[in-house]
């Protein structure tokens, strides 16, 4: 019984890392200027970014693009829109990848690369900090 108590104490000690932090950012969802969609439901946006849907509401193909994994804007988008932490997102995609069910969205290095990528592909959908938006892309609303 002492051994069992010691094991429980060890498990509890490992679990005793407490403190948290979450980022907040004003994220703009962007598409190509020719994209006919002016808005997306939050459910559709989430489905597209979780690989569960590959079309916009008008039927055109949707190609999600992600910022780099360590980017704070990406973390904010995933937390606010997809309701998942970076670890949870990694676990989500790892499960899909390990079962052959899918692969995560393409990644670009930073906001300028994201703007260039989305401005060059009528099917692309991405996101940047709202202050980085330029006239080369169209901002759509999430309802």
């Amino acid at each position: 019984m002492n051994r069992a108590k010691a094991l429980l104490a060890l498990v509890a000690a490992l679990g005793a890392f407490v403190a948290s932090g979450a980022a907040a950012a004003d994220v703009a969802i962007i598409v190509h200027p020719d994209n006919a969609n002016a808005s997306l439901s939050e459910a559709d946006f989430t489905r597209i970014y979780l690989g569960r849907k590959d079309t916009f509401p008008d039927g055109s193909r949707a190609v999600p693009v992600n910022l780099a994994a360590e980017d704070a804007v990406r973390a904010a988008m995933e937390q606010d829109m997809l309701h998942k932490s970076p670890s949870q997102m990694k676990a989500y995609w790892t499960k899909l990848m390990f079962t052959g069910e899918g692969t995560p969205p393409e990644e670009v290095a930073d906001a300028s690369a994201m703007l260039k990528r989305v401005a060059g592909d009528p099917n692309a959908i991405g996101y940047v900090d709202a202050s980085a938006v330029t006239g080369d892309v169209k901002v759509i609303t999430i309802q």
Binding site: F17, M97, F98, T103
Partner: protein
């Protein structure tokens, strides 16, 4: 040696497939090469056994360090409709086997056809057991534990798809293959899974089932270890089915899971095999009572009860809570597993199950408490401790087990 040569060839093909397209920047995003490895140390204390006088004695098992998983996977999208998937399993970094090798045609969301060796869609875990770093717990639920599988993990043809339904998605799969050890009378085994996901995958309920659709046999010969399927090696024939239901909730960091499975075997024992098992495997009184027409009589083929019908039941509850710390993600979890198989024996060498086969009545429960710590999303450290509980030699016996596992996900 032949296995190693074929493994080397398979790895070489994987490498070529992965690197050749990478030379073409446009195609690079269509190829993904990745995998994971895990290292484990485990220890069991006070495991009960019988001495020569028939009294219960307890002994600690040797501490084991293993490399239970080293999987390399490749996913290649030929175009929007066709893709291939390869999963090489290099357990203990000694032998490499092909865990998965399939191609899939994606007609639309309603109809996808997958041909090749693929994990069957069956409950919450079968398809993701090669993703140990991502789920709570270290060990598979009992229905997919290596020495007492209810069913083989892979199948050879699968049709699947989904339809929107209400706020969620109804997903189906249907699969078939050659049966467990080999079919008789050209029977067509069938497996299915039907699940409803809603809340963007945060909630899930489903049912899975399988029928051998006729007599089948074990996939291992007697004396060659535990089967990789649900058919015991001393059966001359086994016509069986499995049915079960499961549910999962993910919300606000909580993850709760529950599942129940029932397998029913219409089986016929092979008398010669049963005699061999009794003479070599060390069966207990309850098992002897099942195997022989007269348990006090001679161990002969004529005294073997060939009627081997039996049922297996298993269920589990799992729960975890994920939260972030400055050092990474922490997920404490608890699990309770129950398993009952009255037909099995303890000796793995002779096709048995060291847990259910140890118990007087084939039943055991396992309570587990553990914690996952992920300092980064690619690295998971898990510490968990289990208490095994079963009837042994007429009294309730408990023995503890502890496991520590470190795993790393690599590639993309």
């Amino acid at each position: 040696m032949k296995k190693l040569q074929s493994t080397t060839c398979a790895l070489a093909v994987l490498g070529m497939a992965a690197t050749a397209p990478l030379a073409n920047a446009a195609a690079a995003s269509d190829v993904n090469l990745y995998g994971y490895l895990s290292w484990r140390v485990e220890k069991v204390w006070d495991e009960p056994a019988l001495d020569e006088a028939g009294e219960t004695v307890k002994a600690d098992a040797d501490r084991e360090i293993t490399l239970p998983s080293f999987n390399v996977m490749l996913q290649y999208a030929l175009d929007d409709r066709f893709k291939v998937f390869v999963n090489l399993d290099g357990e203990e970094a000694e032998d490499v086997s092909v865990a998965n090798l399939w191609g899939e045609y994606q007609h639309n969301q309603y109809l996808n056809v997958r041909l090749g060796k693929t994990y069957r869609r069956f409950g919450l875990y079968n398809e993701m057991l090669d993703a140990v770093p991502t789920y709570i717990g270290i060990e598979a639920p009992e229905l997919f534990d290596g020495d007492h599988l209810l069913i083989s993990r892979t199948t050879l043809a699968m049709v699947h798809g989904w339809v929107p339904l209400g706020d969620g998605e109804l997903r189906y799969s249907w699969s078939t293959d050659n049966g467990e050890g080999g079919p008789n009378d050209d029977n067509v085994p069938m497996g299915f899974d039907l699940r409803y996901d809603w809340g963007l995958g945060n909630y899930r309920v489903g049912i899975s089932g399988y029928t051998s659709n006729g007599d089948t046999t074990s996939d291992v010969d007697l004396g060659e270890g535990s089967p990789n399927s649900g058919v015991l090696p001393w059966m001359a024939a086994d016509d069986f089915y499995i049915i079960g239901a499961y549910g999962e909730l993910n919300r606000d960091g909580w993850q709760l899971q529950a599942a129940y499975w029932h397998a029913s075997h219409d089986a016929e024992r092979d008398p010669a095999s049963v005699v061999t098992v009794i003479q070599n495997a060390g069966v207990n009184a309850a098992q002897l009572d099942r195997f022989l027409l007269d348990p006090d009589g001679p161990v002969t083929e004529a005294n073997v009860d060939v009627d081997g019908d039996y049922d297996v039941d298993t269920w589990y509850l799992r729960g975890g809570y994920s939260f972030m710390t400055r050092r990474g993600e922490v997920v404490p979890y608890v699990q309770w597993d129950y398993y009952e198989n009255p037909e099995t024996i303890e000796s793995k060498t002779w096709g048995g199950d060291a847990e259910a086969g140890l118990a007087d009545d084939g039943e055991f429960s396992k309570a587990t408490v553990g914690v996952v710590f992920r300092p980064s999303p690619d690295i998971a450290m898990k510490l968990d401790a289990s208490m095994h509980i079963q009837e042994f030699n007429g009294s309730t016996e408990r023995y503890p087990e502890i496991r520590f596992d470190v795993s790393y996900i690599f590639g993309r």
